[in-house]
């Protein structure tokens, strides 16, 4: 199966074409094709996971016997631990060849790839099922399913890419599909604008990615091969500087795609898309593509940002800032989906920071667990809006007290929130702890503190979110009821994963499946640091979370209508200023729209106006004045004395010449061309004679 993994992305691609052309004629308008295709992909991905585990186990046991496994990859004991180095299973065909450069397409299957295959296919499958209810009766139902299939196919293409070029193709396709899906309800201008914003903002980062791909292509000796690039990067071939440039450019791509500060502004607006799409974008595709890029080309980042040395680097810094600003912004949102969007930004910050501090396993593990609970939370929010609030997402106006009406949604949402907050022993706890422990034990203490503050904020805003949605009095005007089974079943499945997914790499329990199977030991991968279990940190982070929940409840429990927060912003000037600052999203949108767009428009217009007024007018005036003065002199001393007739004659001649020259400005292109060619000929003659 591992050699035939290309089938996994091909199935949704075929499904896309089938839905597009035959979907409308199917009894269920094409949704069954999408679900069947994703089901098949999911089963095959599970097979791939199992086979990869067997593959690694075989290699390890053979390694014990001292035998070498084939596949052309050498096998040796990784110096960092007792794990055998298992190269990826690569199967490619030649795409094209330019001179000596061969570009291949195909699949490169390793632990990271099978993990992503599993996550993408299962989330996408559940989203497909969920959408049958959520999108029921939509005007472009078939089209929606076609786009979902293409979205999944692009993400899978990206995940299995053996070359940076294929990765780039998948990356751009993912961007295109997200544009299509965010703008799915394009009848409303706001949705179209959100889609445009998402597309253009990520494109800004994509420019960096494209340059990064070109830089790494040349730095690694004209190859797109990812393993080769990583290997060469770790050896530092060509000097450190080129890899700094390459890593910084690639980092721009991550910042754009994964919603990192300062290009995170598109993510909350992307909530304009249908909720299942938001779940897919935030959990399994699109935004994690950036983190995946970081994990995939880790050798380049390791070398470029000197991650192994400790201290502060660009990647960790961006991630750390993003954690804090994302979490802080989540506090002031009234729209439940926007709370979750900012939460995603913050959690992506954990992943990027994790990569930046050397916690590769932690970051990838957090990507894995986050996919489940964030998809769960989004689908839960969608369930609320579908069944209780008439497709509104406003927590203050249309929700509240839904615990009684929708028990399944409530309990699953609560599990998702706890998993996100990082309560022991849910999924988020294990992965966040892994990131923090690595940061703390690997000379990145400051980022561990940032992570803990982020955890505190996360727990607090999720408490607020759950409280406003499910507790108190129902403030909407509908008849809330539990959602249909197509919605609740995916929620239950995801809740199950949110509870147990963390056990895949529960360091405390001695389970290190991610270190064992996902982390590539060997060529092209740095010796990342595996942290020891730290009971103190675990206790601390859990205590922080509990305290945060307590504070959150203190604020929102007794004061039924948010009086706590309202009162606070009215009582304290500083709090009010902070609130305004947060509500305006740090004024970044203003900065982009007025500062940059206006800044380019305004000053240029003003500058040219200034030049026009001062310089040109000045010159004209000066010439005018000079001419007047000269005229006076001439009049007094020359004109009066020298013969008038000559002056009149000159004036007459000028008039004549002007009249003649007027004919030159005929407005006819061919007349101009005639003069042009004549002049060229004369100049050529002049050049020959005088040289």
């Amino acid at each position: 199966m591992l050699e035939y993994a290309w089938i996994i992305p091909v199935i949704p691609t075929v499904s896309f074409v089938l839905i597009l052309f035959f979907g409308k004629r199917m009894p269920r308008q094409g949704s069954e094709i999408g679900i069947a295709a994703l089901g098949a992909s999911f089963v095959l991905s599970c097979v791939a996971v199992v086979q990869w585990i067997q593959h690694v186990d075989d290699a390890t046991s053979e390694h014990g016997l001292g035998a070498l496994r084939s596949l052309g990859k050498s096998l040796f004991l990784a110096e960092s631990g007792a794990y055998a180095a298992v190269g990826p299973v690569v199967s490619t065909v030649e795409w094209f060849k330019i001179g000596a450069v061969e570009v291949a397409v195909g699949t490169q299957i390793d632990g990271l790839a099978v993990m992503m295959l599993f996550v993408v296919t299962i989330i996408s499958l559940l989203v497909h099922v969920y959408s049958t209810a959520y999108m029921h009766g939509d005007v472009r139902y078939t089209y929606f399913y076609a786009a979902l299939s293409l979205f999944t196919a692009s993400m899978l293409t990206l995940v299995v890419a053996p070359t940076t070029l294929q990765l780039l193709v998948g990356w751009e396709l993912v961007g295109l599909c997200s544009f299509m899906l965010i703008g799915h309800w394009w009848e409303e201008g706001a949705n179209t604008n959100a889609a445009m914003k998402a597309f253009l903002t990520t494109r800004t980062g994509d420019v960096g990615l494209m340059i990064g791909v070109i830089v790494t292509f040349f730095a690694a000796g004209q190859t797109f091969d990812i393993v080769h690039i990583n290997t060469v990067a770790l050896e530092g071939v060509g000097g450190h500087t080129i890899w700094v440039v390459g890593a910084s450019c690639l980092m721009l791509g991550i910042i754009g795609k994964s919603g990192q500060f300062p290009l995170h502004t598109w993510l909350p607006d992307a909530m304009a898309g249908p909720t299942p799409v938001s779940a897919l974008i935030h959990a399994a595709t699109m935004v994690v593509a950036g983190v995946y890029l970081g994990a995939r080309l880790y050798g380049v980042f390791w070398q470029g940002f000197s991650i192994g040395d400790g201290g502060v680097n660009f990647m960790a810094l961006v991630g750390g800032i993003t954690i804090l600003i994302g979490a802080a912004l989540a506090f002031v949102q009234d729209d439940i989906k926007k709370v979750l969007a900012y939460s995603t930004i913050s959690q992506l910050g954990y992943m990027v920071m994790g990569l930046g501090v050397g916690a590769w396993v932690g970051a990838v593990f957090h990507l894995f667990t986050h996919a489940f609970f964030k998809a769960l939370l989004f689908l839960g929010a969608g369930s609320v809006s579908y069944s209780a609030s008439h497709h509104s997402f406003d927590m203050r106006e249309d929700m509240g007290g839904l615990r009684k009406y929708m028990p399944i949604t409530f309990w699953t949402f609560l599990i998702g929130s706890f998993a996100l907050a990082g309560i022991f022993p849910l999924a988020g706890f294990w992965s966040k702890d892994e990131v923090l422990a690595t940061a703390g034990q690997g000379n990145y203490e400051i980022f561990m503190v940032v992570g803990l503050v982020g955890a505190f904020l996360t727990a607090a805003y999720m408490t607020r979110c759950v409280w406003l949605t499910f507790f108190g009095e129902y403030r909407g005007h509908g008849h809330p009821h539990e959602s249909p089974r197509a919605i609740t079943v995916p929620l239950i499945v995801l809740a199950g994963f949110s509870m147990v997914a963390g056990l895949a790499n529960a360091t405390a329990l001695g389970i290190e499946k991610f270190v064992e199977y996902v982390e590539p030991h060997g060529e092209g991968f740095p010796e990342v640091f595996t942290p020891d279990f730290d009971l103190g940190l675990v206790a601390l982070s859990n205590a922080i979370v509990v305290i945060a929940i307590g504070i959150g409840l203190f604020f929102w429990l007794d004061r039924r209508e948010l009086r706590g927060l309202k009162g606070l912003t009215e009582r304290s000037g500083a709090a009010k200023a902070g609130h305004t600052f947060l509500v305006n999203k740090y004024y970044l949108d203003h900065l982009y729209e007025q500062g940059i767009v206006g800044g380019i428009k305004g000053p240029i217009a003003r500058a040219s106006y200034w030049v026009n007024q001062r310089v040109i007018d000045g010159v004209v005036n000066a010439v005018g004045k000079g001419a007047t003065a000269f005229g006076r002199v001439v009049y007094r001393y020359v004109d009066q004395d020298v013969v008038d007739g000559a002056v009149n004659g000159i004036a007459h001649e000028t008039d004549q010449a002007g009249g003649l020259l007027r004919y030159v400005q005929s407005g006819r292109v061919q007349r101009y061309a005639l003069m042009l060619f004549a002049a060229v000929g004369l100049l050529a003659v002049a050049l020959v004679i005088f040289s």
Binding site: I98, G99, Q670, R671, A678, G681, V685, V688
Partner: protein
């Protein structure tokens, strides 16, 4: 040598006469057909210079496609098919003077610069030249040394396609 030179002069005379036909004919369709003669003569000259592949591309693209495009253009602009003097503008004589002047300048310069330098096709050199003009050797050059210009040209064609549609669209 003699055979090639005789061929050249026959072709050259035909091409110049046809070219004059293109710019002097008072019938638009005739002008287009004279253009075919010039372009075909040009393709023949390419073969004489052992540029086999370019010659066939010339035949396919120019005579096959561009001329058809011109005929469509003539049709769509309903240019007068009958003979009349309306096809020239009023700067016929200045244009003739300028172009003859340029021809004089150019030929003088060329004769001064290159004198009677020969294109060597004797013996093995001719075979070498033939090999150079084959599709294979051209492809190696285009897809290795000139691959970026090649991709740019394909972008340009796409842009021209879109541009032509946008400009000519009735809206």
């Amino acid at each position: 040598m003699i055979a090639q030179n005789v061929t050249f002069w026959i072709l050259a005379a035909a091409m110049v006469l046809a070219a004059i036909g293109v710019v002097r004919s008072q019938n638009v369709v005739h002008a287009a057909l004279y253009l075919v003669v010039v372009l075909a003569g040009s393709a023949a000259q390419f073969i004489l210079l052992a540029a086999e592949f370019v010659a066939w591309v010339q035949v396919l693209i120019y005579i096959g496609a561009v001329i058809i495009l011109f005929l469509f253009g003539i049709m769509l602009t309903r240019a007068p098919m009958r003979s009349d003097t309306d096809l020239d503008n009023d700067q016929r004589w200045p244009a003739a003077v300028v172009s003859l002047f340029l021809l004089g300048v150019l030929s003088t310069l060329l004769i001064q610069a290159f004198g009677d330098k020969e294109i060597d096709i004797s013996g093995g050199h001719g075979a070498e030249l033939l090999a150079q003009g084959r599709a294979g050797s051209l492809a190696e050059s285009i897809f290795a040394a000139y691959v970026v210009p090649f991709e740019l040209v394909s972008m340009l064609l796409l842009a021209a396609l879109v541009g032509a549609v946008v400009i000519a669209r009735r809206d």
